[in-house]
Amino acid sequence: MKNPKDKTEMAKISKLSVVEKGARLADDVVVGPFCYVGRKVEIASGCVLENNVTIVGRTAIGEDTRIFPMSMIGMTEDGDEDGVCVIGKANAVREHVTILAGTTERPTELGTGNLIMVGCNISGSVRVGNHVILANCTNLGSRSVVEDYVRMSAFSYLCEDIIVGSYAFVAGLIIIDRNIPDYSMVQGVPPRVRGVNTHNLKACGFGEGDIRELKRVFRDLFNGGDHLNEKVLAELDAQENLNVYVRKVVDTIKQQRQAGLKGAW
C-alpha cells in the first residue's frame, strides 16, 4: 500500500463529501456527493460510492463493489463506531441497505458477487457467502449465516443464529427460525421444506442424476413438511456410496445437532 494520504487525494471524491483523515481509498474509487467515510475505512480499487452513502467503523470493502444511495455500512447497534465489517469483491449494495458491523472475534462478512437489494438489513456478525441474492427488505438476524448461491425472497426474516444452507431458495414474507438444509426450497409459516431448488441447481451446473437423487431423498426425508423423518435419516446415514450432495445434507444436519445449534433439525 502506498501512503494512504496520497491515495485519498487521487481518488475521485466529491467536494460535498466527507472522507475522514486515515481512511484508505484506492486510486480510482469514486465517491459521490454527501457521502461520509469514517477514518478506519478501507476501500479497494474500482469501488463506486454513489451519493448519500455512510460508511463508518473498521470496514474493508473489496474491489469493484458498488454502493447505491442512502446505504449505511459499519455502524453497531450500541452506536459506537468500532465494529468490524469485511465486504468482498464485486458486491452490489442497493439503496437503503444497512449493514451493521460485528465484533473483532466475529466480524460481519460478505463474500464475492452478492446482490443485496433495496431495504435489506444485515445485522452484526452475520456471514454471507458468495453469489448470494437477497431480495428487497430481507432481514438477516445477528450471527446468522447465509451460504453460497442462496436466493432469499422479499420480506424474508431470518432470526438470530440461523444458518441457510448453500443453493437454498427461501420464499417471500416468511420468518425463518430454524436452519435450512442445503439445496432446499423453503416456504410457509412455520418454514416447510417443500423440495429441492431445482432451478438454481440446474443454473449452477448440477447433473440431472444428482438433482433427481436429491429430490427423491428430500421427499422421503421432509415430505414437504416441517418435520424430519428420523428413520430415513438413520437409513441414509448408514448407507455407503451415498450421493455426495445427499451426504452433505445428512452430515450437515448431524453436525448441527451435535453442536447444539439453536436452529438444528
Partner: protein
C-alpha cells in the same frame, strides 16, 4: 434572530428543471433529469438516470428515483422512468428505470400516492389514482391499473396485473393477477384469494347506478366459487356484457389463460403495449436495435 440555513445540493447543470421547483438540502439531481413546474423535492433525495417528472409532484425525503434496475438482464442502456403529474411520493421510496427486454420504461401516471419505503422495480406501470402502501414491494413488469389500493407490506410477484379499483390486504404475497373491484387477501397458511367486493372501490370509480348493480351481480357470480370461474365467465359473456362487466370478464379470462394466473407472462422478452404507447419514437427504434443485436 432567525437562523440562516444554507441549502447544499448537487444539481447537474444540464438537468432541465422548471423555475419554481423546490429542492431540499443534500439532494442530488442527475444530468438527464427533467422536473416539471410546481414539483417539490425533499432532503436527501436522489433523482438519477433518464427520469422525467411532470408537474405538481411531491417527493419526500430520502427517495431514490431512476437508478439502474436490480434485474440481472439489464445491460446498461439509458432506459426511462416517466412520472406523471400530482403524485405524492413518500419517504424512502425507490423507483428504477426499465430494462431492455422488458420494454425500456417504468411509468407512473397521475394522482398516485406512494407511501413510505415502497419500491417500484423496472418496467412497472402504475396508472392513475393508485395508492401504494408502506413498504409495498412491486417486482418487475407489473401493471397496477387505475385506483387500485395496495395496503402496507404487500409483496407483488413479477408480471402480475392488479385490476382497476382492487384492494389488497396488508402483508399479502400476491403471486397471480388480482381481479378488478375485489378485495384480495390471505396469508401463508392459505393461498391468497379474492375475499369479497371492494365497495369503496366501486364508490370511487363513480359508475352509473345500473352499471354498479350489474357489476356487483357479476362479481358475486364469478367469485362465488373460483374453481368454476371459466364456466361462469362463459355464461356471463353468452348473456351479453358491456362496460365494466365486460372488462371484468376479459380480465379474468386473460388471467386464466396466463401462465400461473399471470396474464403479463406473455410479455416475457417482448415490448408490452403500455411501453410502446409511452416511449418516444427515437427511444423505440433504439430499443428495437438493441434487441436485434441480441
Amino acid at each position: 434572530m432567525a437562523v440562516k440555513v444554507e441549502i447544499i445540493r448537487e444539481v447537474h447543470p444540464s438537468a432541465r428543471i422548471a423555475s419554481d421547483v423546490k429542492i431540499g438540502s443534500f439532494s442530488v439531481i442527475g444530468p438527464d433529469v427533467t422536473l416539471g413546474p410546481g414539483t417539490v423535492i425533499g432532503r436527501n433525495v436522489t433523482i438519477a438516470g433518464n427520469t422525467t417528472i411532470g408537474s405538481g409532484n411531491f417527493i419526500d425525503d430520502g427517495s431514490v428515483l431512476g437508478v439502474v434496475p436490480q434485474d440481472l438482464k439489464y445491460r446498461g442502456s439509458p432506459a426511462l422512468l416517466i412520472i406523471g403529474h400530482n403524485n405524492r411520493i413518500g419517504r424512502r421510496v425507490t423507483m428504477h428505470i426499465g430494462t431492455e427486454p422488458g420494454g425500456f420504461v417504468t411509468r407512473v401516471g397521475d394522482n398516485n400516492v406512494f407511501r413510505e419505503g415502497s419500491h417500484m422495480a423496472h418496467d412497472c406501470f402504475v396508472d392513475d389514482g393508485a395508492v401504494i402502501g408502506r413498504s409495498v414491494q412491486l417486482a418487475g413488469h407489473i401493471l397496477v391499473q387505475n385506483g387500485a389500493v395496495l395496503e402496507d407490506m404487500v409483496g407483488v410477484h413479477h408480471f402480475v396485473t392488479i385490476g382497476r379499483y382492487a384492494r389488497i390486504s396488508s402483508m399479502t404475497p400476491v403471486r397471480r393477477d388480482v381481479p378488478p373491484y375485489t378485495v384480495f387477501g390471505g396469508g401463508n397458511e392459505e393461498a391468497p384469494s379474492v375475499r369479497g367486493v371492494n365497495e369503496d372501490g366501486i364508490k370511487t370509480a363513480g359508475l352509473a347506478e345500473d352499471e354498479t348493480a350489474d357489476l356487483r351481480r357479476a362479481l358475486g357470480e364469478l367469485f362465488e366459487d373460483e374453481a368454476a370461474l371459466q364456466t361462469k365467465i362463459e355464461q356471463l359473456v353468452n348473456m351479453g356484457v358491456e362496460g365494466e362487466v365486460a372488462y371484468l370478464c376479459e380480465f379474468c379470462q386473460q388471467s386464466l389463460q396466463g401462465k400461473f394466473g399471470r396474464y403479463r407472462e406473455v410479455y416475457r422478452g417482448l415490448i408490452p403495449p403500455e411501453a410502446a404507447a409511452v416511449l418516444p419514437p427515437e427511444k423505440l427504434s433504439e430499443l428495437e436495435r438493441i434487441l436485434k443485436i441480441k
